[in-house]
């Protein structure tokens, strides 16, 4: 990030959400890189941009199509890379043809000159980084959004080289590591396919128990299975779905109607309060030894510095004890023993001995052997001649507007996000004596406030098709008319996710937290909106 020429942050407010990553961006800027920020809001990240493309919520695909067409029409594609590394380019070229700059401007609200500027700067750069976050993935068509950004990297060859890449910025300290370790419905550790008999046989042999041969459900499918009452027992570890899921009122109903709900957490969360059994777990990052994997695929050591309080126990110990009572004795493995077992089963972790992880301050996977230094960036194979592995495909992606449509009744687009000093549902951040903490607000555009007669600090009722909540209004000049912003950090006070829609991506299962249709009214003490709120409370 520090040694590149163009940095594109698309749907990312990294200055607030990934502050130390943004330090590296700032070093890049100081070294001469140009920064482009694509975000409906004028965020603190956008304040640093050379060019801020303020698109309408949910028009990312349209914008990417217009950028792609401009790159192609200006003759700025990397033709040698296209020929060597990709497939489906001719069909893609025809597919983007209708997306002129003018059409892009009309659809996204971004001036044509800015779309052109992004296309030319990105394509002409020797090195360019394209990063995205939840602004891209918290949509009902998240996978299509991501594909449309990947296409830009393929068109220009900005992938698989030093200083050039396409990077999703991970939002949690071990969301990458969870996937690495097989906490996915269709993968075993090391991203090995659970339905591959050869792979599974190695696990069966080592564990002495057969691994179920079929893939499981992802989170959204689990809630669907709860709706059908096929999924009747639920064991939740370190997650707070009663507050973190979209359309939270509905989710709580599903959680409480299981045959058994077990929650393992370090706090008595709102989800734990609904549970039949609560296992007090520990803060893995500081009360146990282990590893996490960060956004750059770096496996890093966590170390125990504190004893867990009261009856809280190491999460591994809880799992092992539960397993024992269910009839399979795993013993009492140490973190290093578990790690060494992983190295036997997951080739990409093979070379990461506990000692090397200590000595090297973490190692980036894949690292197959103990003499391997780790891998700084992926996809270098696309440049090899002949190419290593299969070609990177272009996929024909069509725009699809947000599910929760704007109407006269719900005319304002609510988008959600994070603030610098808080984290998700506030389970970890609600306690520290944070001078930046403010009560949850709905941030509104000055023009909307003027039209609706709402002054700064007024209490308003925000109504979506699912619920209504009362919240304090804040006027944000960084919002254009028709756009509003909230977080769900303070869900006990203002439960923003009662408003959001559980419209999910069919492949990834992510909900459309970024696009809710709402109306905002000055508070009236006795009105239908308040009744609706009371019904959900």
């Amino acid at each position: 990030m520090e040694e590149t020429d163009v940095i594109v942050l698309w749907g990312s407010n990294a200055r607030d959400a990934h502050p130390i990553f943004f330090h590296h961006v700032l070093k890049g800027i100081r070294n001469g890189a140009k920064l482009f920020v694509i975000d409906p809001r004028r965020t603190s990240t956008a304040d640093w941009a050379d060019s801020h493309l303020r698109l309408r919520v949910g028009t990312d695909i349209e914008l990417a199509l217009a950028v792609a067409r401009e790159i192609i029409h200006a003759g700025l594609t990397h033709d040698a890379f296209l020929a060597n590394a990709t497939e489906g380019y001719e069909a893609f070229k025809a597919h983007v043809e209708p997306w002129t700059l003018e059409r892009g401007e009309a659809t996204t609200g971004v001036p044509a000159a800015l779309i052109r500027g992004l296309a030319h700067a990105y394509a002409r750069a020797d090195r360019a980084q394209l990063c995205w976050t939840l602004g891209i993935t918290e949509h009902h068509n998240a996978v299509d959004n991501v594909l449309s950004l990947i296409h830009l990297g393929l068109l220009t060859g900005h992938v698989g080289r030093p200083g050039s890449g396409i990077n999703p910025l991970r939002g949690q300290n071990n969301v990458q590591g969870g996937g690495d370790m097989g906490a996915l419905p269709h993968k075993l550790p090391g991203f090995q396919d659970v339905e591959d008999d050869v792979v599974r046989a190695r696990y069966d042999a080592l564990w002495g128990r057969p691994v179920p041969p079929k893939k499981g459900w992802h989170l959204t499918e689990m809630f669907e299975a709860m709706r059908r009452n096929e999924l009747r027992a639920l064991y939740v570890i370190g997650e707070n779905p009663a507050q973190s899921e979209a359309d939270a009122g509905h989710i709580k109903g599903l959680l409480t109607s299981r045959d058994i709900l077990i929650v393992q957490d370090m706090f008595m969360t709102r989800t734990a309060e609904l549970a039949d059994v609560v296992f007090p777990g520990s803060a893995a990052w500081v009360e146990t030894d282990g590893t996490v994997t960060n956004s750059e695929r770096r496996v890093q050591r966590c170390r125990k510095a504190l004893d867990p309080p009261g009856e809280a126990r190491d999460d591994v110990w809880i799992l092992a004890e539960l397993s024992k009572r269910l009839g399979h004795d795993m013993g009492n493995p140490t973190p290093e023993q578990l790690w060494d077992e992983l190295r036997l089963l997951s080739p990409m972790h093979g070379g990461m001995s506990w000692a090397r992880l200590e000595a090297m301050d973490g190692i980036q996977w894949p690292c197959p052997t103990e003499d391997h230094p780790g891998t700084r960036f992926l996809h270098e194979r696309l440049w090899a001649q002949p190419r290593g592995g299969r070609a990177a495909p272009f996929t024909l992606v069509d725009p699809d507007p947000p599910v929760d449509q704007l109407t006269d009744e719900y005319p304002i687009r609510l988008t959600t996000g994070r603030r610098l000093d808080e984290y998700n549902t506030g389970v970890q951040t609600s306690q520290y004596k944070n001078p930046l903490r403010k009560r949850e607000t709905i941030d509104l555009a000055p023009a909307d406030c003027a039209r609706l007669g709402i002054e700064e600090g007024a209490t308003v009722t925000v109504t979506s098709r699912r619920a209504a909540v009362r919240v304090t209004a804040r006027i944000d000049p960084g919002l254009h008319a028709g756009l509003a912003f909230m977080t769900y950090h303070d869900a006990d006070d203002v439960d923003t996710n009662l408003l959001t829609i559980e419209a999910t991506d069919p492949k990834a299962g992510t909900a459309e937290f970024k696009a809710t249709a709402i109306r905002v009214e000055r508070d009236r003490p006795h009105g239908p909106a308040s009744d609706l709120h009371a019904a959900h409370a």
């Binding site: 990934h18 956004s295 966590c302 504190l306 973490g362 970890q428 520290y432």
Partner: protein
């Protein structure tokens, strides 16, 4: 292509890459050079003058932290002139600043035999905010019986960290960390000139009214304890800060996916301070408010 430069330090010939400093060359030879305002992750500002060395052919002593090595230079790092200069710097600092929580500075003072008492007893401390109201030229020539000081009450305007400018040697490190070297927030700068120079927010407003985002990257670089976790300051005030009972452990921040290394100081099963090691490539010694201060939930109530 980086070229090599050959120079002589204390009679030993050494080859360093072009762009290396005299401090780099001395360090490579195992020479321990005292520094206060220099840090590996900050741009040198040349203000403390602790690291000065004698360069043959130069009229003045040169700051080794910033001076680039040149072909054929002949350097002396431990001459009487160098030692006198370093001792004088330490004596001036100790005569005017409370250095009781500045371990490096105290060690240097011992090494160079600093005798700050020769400037007389400390003058009276300033009242709260008195020095912040001084304009250039306020500092009149003293009578000489007492040593003028920067002693003043500490500023406590939030629950996360305190600013004790009676311990500030104006090394600029906090300003650099808050500014272009890391955080780029620019909440603080040096106000005033000469003896009135001091670190200040804009118009000397309290931190809650300033641009401060409480990343604490200023605390991470402060060499004197002028900037300190409030949890540490409170324990020190109560006489309960006990380094013998403390452990230091490196782990990974529990928040976003960047994976910053946290260096936790733990006493009585409570986190009392969170620092960030400068040599780790992910963080370069920096953190945000969540990693720095938002991790104490594991200590509150329990433990």
């Amino acid at each position: 292509m980086i070229r090599a430069v050959t120079l002589t330090v204390d009679g030993q010939s050494i080859e360093v890459p072009e762009g290396a400093t005299l401090l780099d060359a001395a360090t490579a030879l195992g020479i321990d050079t005292p520094t206060l305002c220099w840090a590996a992750n900050l741009t040198p500002v040349n203000v403390c003058r602790m690291c000065v060395v004698e360069l043959e052919g130069a009229r003045t002593l040169v700051p080794s932290c910033a001076r680039k090595a040149e072909e054929g230079m002949v350097i002396h790092t431990d001459t009487p002139r160098v030692r006198t200069s370093r001792r004088m710097v330490l004596e001036l600092l100790q005569s005017s600043v409370d250095t009781s929580t500045a371990p490096d500075l105290l060690a240097y003072a011992k090494r160079y035999g600093a005798e700050p008492a020769r400037f007389g007893p400390h003058g009276p401390p300033a009242n709260a905010n008195e020095r912040d109201a001084h304009h250039p030229g306020h500092h009149h020539v003293p009578a000489g019986a007492e040593a003028a000081t920067v002693h003043q009450p500490r500023k406590v305007d939030n629950e996360l960290y305190i600013r004790d400018y009676g311990k500030c040697i104006t090394c600029y490190k906090c300003v650099e960390a808050c500014g272009t070297d890391a955080q780029n927030t620019f909440a603080i700068a040096v106000a005033g000139r000469g003896f009135e120079a001091r670190i200040s927010t804009e118009y000397n407003v309290g931190l809650p009214d300033s641009a401060c985002v409480y990343c604490g990257n200023c605390i991470n670089v402060c060499p004197t304890g002028a900037l300190m976790f409030k949890s540490e300051a409170d324990l020190r005030d109560a006489g309960k800060w006990d380094e013998a009972k403390q452990t230091t452990t490196r782990t990974i921040c529990p928040y976003c996916g960047v994976g910053c290394t946290l260096e936790l100081t733990v006493q009585d099963n409570r986190i009392v301070r969170v620092m960030s090691p400068p040599e780790v490539s992910v963080t370069n010694g920096n953190l945000c408010i969540k990693g720095r201060f938002g991790v104490t939930y594991v200590s509150e109530g329990g433990g």
